[in-house]
Amino acid sequence: GAGVSQSPSNKVTEKGKDVELRCDPISGHTALYWYRQSLGQGLEFLIYFQGNSAPDKSGLPSDRFSAERTGGSVSTLTIQRTQQEDSAVYLCASSLGLAGRETQYFGPGTRLLVL
């Protein structure tokens, strides 16, 4: 596709439920990132995938958060037993994944509201 796409665009869920957020990176981009932006905060790094390497999970806030990337393309971020503090905009970005400084291209985000 022309850009990074994310679905759903909005998600309302009840506390304790699991949610799955999807990201389709730009075709040919091997690096994929998840960030989240809580109200009044900057973007917070969650997890990074590069090709077939083990992901960098250093930003995940708890073990309720997990992500996978199938076939080196689409990624799913899963939040189990959601809490109200998980409410945020979840942003996915991708980049070429080549050596050197690269621009990360962001999707429009998924707005998650946990009631």
Partner: protein, 114 residues
């Protein structure tokens, strides 16, 4: 612990004037800095970047200045246009390798009035 700080949550500038957005950082290992622009309901879009070996980078109406000794960078927009109204995020990266996570500030909301 916020390593990238944008201390002005908002800024209002008249059309045609200069907009100056400021950013401070605390991590001396940061060596690459970026500015992103974000419209409502859209993801951030890359605007301009600067390497730590430079002190200035210019792209059209946008110029980024880096003062390493002060750990400070600024984005200048001149002349400002109403379409520049958006939230601007400063971001920094540690290392010169593809794939390092970006550290973002909280953003500055710029309003350019006609």
């Amino acid at each position: 612990d916020q390593q990238v700080k944008q201390n002005s949550p908002s800024l209002s500038v008249q059309e045609g004037r200069i907009s100056i957005l400021n950013c401070d950082y605390t991590n001396s290992m940061f060596d690459y800095f970026l500015w992103y622009k974000k419209y409502p309901a859209e993801g951030p879009t890359f605007l301009i970047s600067i390497s730590s070996i430079k002190d200035k980078n210019e792209d059209g109406r946008f110029t980024v200045f880096l003062n390493k000794s002060a750990k400070h960078l600024s984005l200048h927009i001149v002349p400002s246009q109403p379409g520049d109204s958006a939230v601007y995020f400063c971001a920094a990266r540690e290392g010169d390798i593809s794939g390092y996570a970006l550290n973002f500030g909280k953003g500055t909301s710029l309003l350019v009035t006609p």
